[in-house]
Symmetry: C2
């Protein structure tokens, strides 16, 4: 893992081969024609990136209610315009039209990589498309992604640690229960974690608060939050890279330190886990972790001052 102290975020995080992918459409087209198949972090800055979940129609109603009841970890941005539709979506964001979310879309090919589950068991991992699995009975859902507020943190001079270190954000299972919805019971919040200096946490809260469609402000912060959330070892995330100090030490080595305070946000992995835990039948599809669907709408389209 990189232990660079690079502070120029763009240099540190944008894959060199992909600097021409500066819009959502460009990323989708490159994924569709097979010229781009790596993670999307740093691509098409300011274009909204989405978590993708595709479900058989009989679970759609319960899934919408799951999202409505748990909007912090499961912010629903859009869904297939109609049953089986893979080339147009209906917007769930006030003030953003259906076409404003994304046009010229092929949900089955436009993420760089996909995951396929059959009867709640992994069937394909990091496959190129889901053309074969998609049926007329499937509905796709787009869920907000915290990449959106990360640009705002960078602009404010508070880039997330994992971006500076050019690695994936650390994600953890917690014991905080989701509000159940129909078949989706027993789920818990998944969180992403970005360490910040104690003195910066209120600013970080303020910056991310308006991004209510992409997880918004943190759900917990501070060293005591680790235990409260039921996280056993901060040094061993369930997904993503182990979190480090800027000089490359494990975060567990600086426990209690005011310079490296863990700050936790709701995470878009939550609905995928909830769907898997529900043990539902049929073919479920999603993007492969990190390989998001990049949309046409921009980060600022979903910012909401209440």
């Amino acid at each position: 893992m990189a232990t660079t102290t690079a502070t120029h975020l763009a240099e540190a995080t944008v894959p060199l081969q992909a600097t021409s992918l500066t819009t959502g459409l460009a990323v989708r087209q490159a994924a569709r024609n097979g010229t781009h198949h790596s993670p999307t972090f740093g691509l098409a800055p300011s274009y909204l990136q989405a978590n993708l979940i595709v479900l058989p129609s009989r679970y759609a109603s319960d899934f919408r209610i799951l999202c409505a009841r748990n909007p912090v970890p499961c912010p629903l941005i859009a869904e297939s315009k109609s049953l089986g539709c893979w080339d147009a979506v209906k917007s769930w964001i006030d003030g953003v039209s259906d076409d404003g979310i994304s046009r010229e879309l092929d949900i089955r090919r436009d993420a760089p990589r996909y995951t396929v589950y059959k009867d709640s068991k992994l069937a394909k991992f990091e496959c190129a498309d889901i053309v074969e699995e998609w049926t007329e009975d499937h509905i796709a859902f787009f869920i907000g992604c915290s990449y959106s507020f990360e640009s705002a943190l960078c602009d404010a001079g508070l880039p997330p640690r994992h971006a500076l270190l050019n690695c994936n954000v650390a994600m953890y299972r917690t014991n905080v229960p989701l509000c159940p919805a129909g078949v989706f019971t027993g789920g818990t919040y998944i969180v992403s974690m970005r360490p910040y200096k104690k003195k910066d946490i209120e600013t970080v809260r303020d910056i991310t608060r308006p991004y209510i469609a992409t997880h918004g402000e943190p759900i917990a912060w501070g060293w005591d939050a680790v235990e409260k959330l039921g996280i056993k070892n901060i040094a061993e995330p369930d997904w993503g890279a182990a979190p480090l100090t800027m000089d490359g030490r494990s975060l567990s080595e600086v426990f209690g330190d005011d310079e490296n305070v863990p700050v936790f946000w709701g995470c878009g992995v939550t609905p995928q886990e909830a769907v898997m835990r529900a043990g539902i039948e049929g073919t479920i599809m999603g993007h492969a972790p990190g390989h998001m669907l990049v949309l046409d709408c921009r980060d600022w389209d979903i910012v909401k001052q209440q």
Copy 2:
């Protein structure tokens, strides 16, 4: 406390003196002119009843975000049409107009009883109105109330136990954290509890699920949920009446019984507690517990099939 086994809900629960109060407007007018000052349970059947919270304007934005992030315990129905406005509201419910929520309104007098807090300390309890305390800087918020789905449960032949026993529903503090929002940190879910037979729980979930603006389906159920939610003693609720079996025994005497399984819903006391815990300054007002503001819109206006 009543230990009646009356099964005719209307007889058991409608205060005799108030049978003429059959619409939201009638209840509001009776509260306004001082002829009705008791709890509102059973009044104006099918008219939506709301929890009321009135805040100084500087906390309004954070409070809206608190509700948006925690829609199950804090479903925001409407708010003052403009700063300081007490006679008209702006609807937060899709498909219900501002006037559809309530017309001919005086938020300062239309609940039968009020509570006033100054600098987070109780200043007045069960006072008749808040005309003196209301200022041009106040904003009122209406939060959904579970009385709405109780009618639906009665219609389905599954009346809540507390209605059959003609007492208030049992409410408990839990250890389930709210998603924080601005000044509102450290809050936890408050839940209401209605015991049901194990075999009826899935039906009860189905019936209450569409009431997403009034807490929706339960957040937890089963005897093991008591400990999971951090409830120390099911027989001693933090608000409302101690829950009983139909033959008048304490619920703690039948622990593990399939005939009296505790079922927990998000509760509209949650935002009041969250506001109090935030230790904010100035004059905060609300309805007195049980003395709700009765609106013009009907239960079915807020039912949503997703």
